[in-house]
Amino acid sequence: MNMEVKEKTLNKKDKRNNDVLLEVKNLKTYYPIKGGILRRTVAVVKAVDDISFEIKKGETLGLVGESGCGKSTAGRTILRLLDATDGQIIFDGDDITNIRGISLRKVRKDFQMVFQDPYASLNPMMMVGDLISEPIRNFTNKRSKELKPEVMELLTKVGLPEDAYYKYPHEFSGGQRQRIGIARALALKPKLIIADEPVSALDVSVQSQVLNLLKELQDEFDLTFLFIAHDLSVVKHMSDRIGVMYLGGLVEVAEKNSLYAEPLHPYTQALISAIPEPDPRKKKERIILEGDVPSPIDPPKGCTFHPRCAHAKPECQQVKPTLKEVKPGHRVACHLYN
C-alpha cells in the first residue's frame, strides 16, 4: 500500500523539485496584540517576516538565532501548529499552508516534532509504553497491547531498556526523557522531524549522547531534519546547511562549512565571533554588538540589523535587503553584497 501512495505523490510532484521535501516561500507569521475594551488588534508582532528556504530529502537544515528571532515560530508554523499570516508551505509537493480537517490530519503523520523541555512535553500520568504508542493509536485502530512489539523496538532504537515500557516519565533523567520524546516522534515513521532546541536543557555529556543518537537515527530511517537551536556549534555539528535568523528574517543561508569559514552577513560574523571557543590559546577578534535586539512589534526600517551594524550605509535604513545568492549555495540578505 505504501508503494502505491509513494508512486501517486511522485507523479503529482513537480519534476524539478524532485528531491525537495519542504519548501517555504515568503512565510509570514504575525501575532496580533489585542487592546482596548473591544479587544481589537492594536499592533502585530512580526515573529516571522518573509522567510524562504527549502529542505532536501535526507538533509538537515539548521535554523539558528537568538531568543525572539522567530526560529521556533517558524518551526511551529511549518508544522501547522500556528497559522501562517502569508506565504506558502509546500511539503512533499503539496501546498499545506491552508489545508484543514482530514487532509491536514493525513499530512500530520509525516511530520513530527521533538521539543526542548523533556520535563514538560511528556504527560506525567502516562506510562512510557502508552506515550510512545499514542501517536500510532491516533492514526490506527490498534490498541496499546497490539503495538507493544513495535514500541519495544523503538525503545531499543533510542537506547532505552525494554523495562522502560512500564515506567513513568518522572523515573527518567532529562536525557532519557528526551529519548522518549524522540521515540514518540519516530513512532509514525515521519518524513520530516522538526527538533526545537532538543538538547538545550541537557548537560554537555548527555547532550552529546542525544546528538549522536539523532544522527544515527537519521542515517537509519532516512530522516529529514529541521534543527532549531540557539547554539551555533551544536547546529553546525548537526546540519548540512544553516540558516541564520535575526528579528523574524532570514539573513543568511549557506552550507555549514562555508558559513563558518566565510560568514558574509555582519550579524552572522558577530554571532560566530561571540561563541567562546574551548581553547585558551586561541585569541579571537571579537565583534561585540552594541545594545539589544529591537522589538519585533516595531522593527527598524530597512535592514532590521542596521542600528547595530558596524557597516551600515544610508541605504540600509531605507531599503530592506532581500536574500540573494552571492556564491553558489550561499545566500545573504545584506546591501554590502550588491
Partner: protein
C-alpha cells in the same frame, strides 16, 4: 611582574580546606561537596566547572553561608577569607562580609532582582547596608555604578523596574549591585547561562574589565568550557562533589589528565573542527543517595576503569607541578600507607 607582586599574589585571598557540605534527605545527611580544597589568590579568576549536580553551586553557597537552613550544613572543613574563618561566623558577622567583601551574582537575573523595587532602590540598599552615605550621594553613586557596567541612560534606568529591562541589562544591574562596595572577591554562578550568545559576549567582556579595574578575584562557576577557556586563570573540574582535576587553564585544555575531563572536552561540538561522532559519557551522575562510598565516583561511567577503582578512593595529588588529578591511572593518586583518602 616584580618579585613583590609575585609574593603578594601567592598569599591566597580565599582558602577552602577539606570542605564537606551535606544535605539532608529523609533525615540522613549526604555530602554534596565532599572534601574539597582550593584557594583563590588576589586578582585571580578561578573557574569551577562541572555538570548539574556536581556540587559547584553548593560550594558557592557554602562560602557565602547561604545554605538552606535545616536542610544543608557545613559538616567539616574550613573556609578562610583573608585569614578569617567564615564557617565559624554567626549570621550577623557574615552579614558584614557578604555584599561588602564577597559579592555574588546569580544565573537568573530576573529572579534575583526584586520585581517590586526600582533598580536604584536595590543598588542603594547595598550601599546603605555597608556604608555611611547620604541619600543624595547614594543616588549619584548608583548612577555612576550603572554607567560603569555599560548601561546607557543610567539617570533614567535608575527609576525603572526589573521587568522593563532586557536579560542582558538585568545582569548588568546585578553586576552593578555586586560591585557596589568594591568587593575583593566576586562569586559568579553561571552568570551568562540564561543569556544569548552575543549578550553573553558583552557580559563576559564587562566582567573582565571590572575584574581588572577593581582588582578583584573572581570565582566563576559554569558548565561551559568555552567560557572557562576565555575567562579563567585556574580551573577546578568537579564531578559528584569531588574535585577530579585542578590546574591552570592552558594545561587543562591541552593536557587534560582525568578521563572525565577528557570526555567532557570531546563531548562539546566545536566550531573549528568537524567530528562525526561526539564522545559521550555513558550513564548519568549517580544521585546523592546512591553515591558510591568508596572508590572513585566516576568509576561506573569511566571507559578506563580498572577493578581497583571501585575499592580504592583516589587522592587529589600533583602529577606535574601545578597539575592535580584524582585518578588511579596516575601513581600519585594512590593512597600510601598512613595517608587517609
Amino acid at each position: 611582574m616584580s618579585v613583590n607582586t609575585q609574593l603578594h599574589k601567592d598569599t591566597p585571598l580565599l582558602e577552602v580546606k577539606n570542605l564537606e557540605t551535606a544535605f539532608s534527605i529523609d533525615g540522613q545527611y549526604y555530602n554534596a561537596v565532599d572534601k574539597v580544597s582550593f584557594s583563590v589568590k588576589p586578582r585571580q579568576i578561578v573557574g569551577i566547572v562541572g555538570e548539574s549536580g556536581c556540587g559547584k553551586s553548593v560550594m558557592s553557597l557554602s562560602i557565602m553561608k547561604l545554605l538552606p537552613k535545616g536542610i544543608g550544613k557545613i559538616k567539616s572543613g574550613s573556609i578562610q577569607f583573608e585569614g578569617v574563618h567564615l564557617e565559624q561566623m554567626s549570621d550577623k558577622e557574615i552579614n558584614s562580609i557578604r555584599g561588602k567583601e564577597i559579592a555574588m551574582i546569580f544565573q537568573e537575573p530576573m529572579t534575583s532582582l526584586n520585581p517590586v523595587f526600582s533598580i536604584g532602590f536595590q543598588i542603594q540598599e547595598v550601599l546603605f547596608n555597608h556604608m555611611k552615605i547620604s541619600k543624595k550621594e547614594a543616588r549619584l553613586k548608583s548612577i555612576a555604578l550603572l554607567k560603569s557596567v555599560g548601561i546607557s541612560r543610567p539617570e533614567k534606568i535608575i527609576d525603572e523596574y526589573p521587568h522593563q529591562l532586557s536579560g542582558g541589562m538585568r545582569q548588568r544591574v546585578m553586576i552593578a549591585i555586586a560591585i557596589a562596595c568594591q568587593p575583593k572577591l566576586l562569586i559568579a554562578d553561571e552568570p551568562t547561562t540564561a543569556l544569548d550568545v552575543t549578550v553573553q559576549a558583552q557580559i563576559l567582556e564587562l566582567l573582565k574589565d571590572i575584574q581588572k579595574v577593581n582588582d578583584m578575584s573572581v570565582i566563576l562557576i559554569t558548565h561551559d568550557l568555552g567560557v572557562v577557556a576565555e575567562m579563567c586563570d585556574e580551573v577546578i573540574v568537579m564531578y559528584a562533589g569531588k574535585v577530579v582535576e585542578k590546574t591552570d587553564v592552558d594545561t587543562l585544555f591541552h593536557d587534560p589528565k582525568h578521563p572525565y575531563t577528557k570526555l567532557l572536552m570531546g563531548a562539546i561540538p566545536r566550531m573549528d573542527e568537524d567530528v562525526e561522532v561526539l564522545s559521550s559519557i555513558k550513564g548519568i551522575v549517580p544521585s546523592l543517595k546512591n553515591m558510591p562510598k568508596v572508590g572513585c565516583k566516576f568509576a561506573a561511567r569511566c571507559p578506563q576503569a580498572m577493578p581497583e577503582c571501585t575499592s580504592i578512593t583516589p587522592l587529589l595529588a600533583e602529577t606535574d607541578e601545578g597539575h592535580e588529578v584524582s585518578c588511579l591511572l596516575y601513581p600519585s593518586s594512590r593512597p600510601r600507607e598512613g595517608v587517609q583518602a
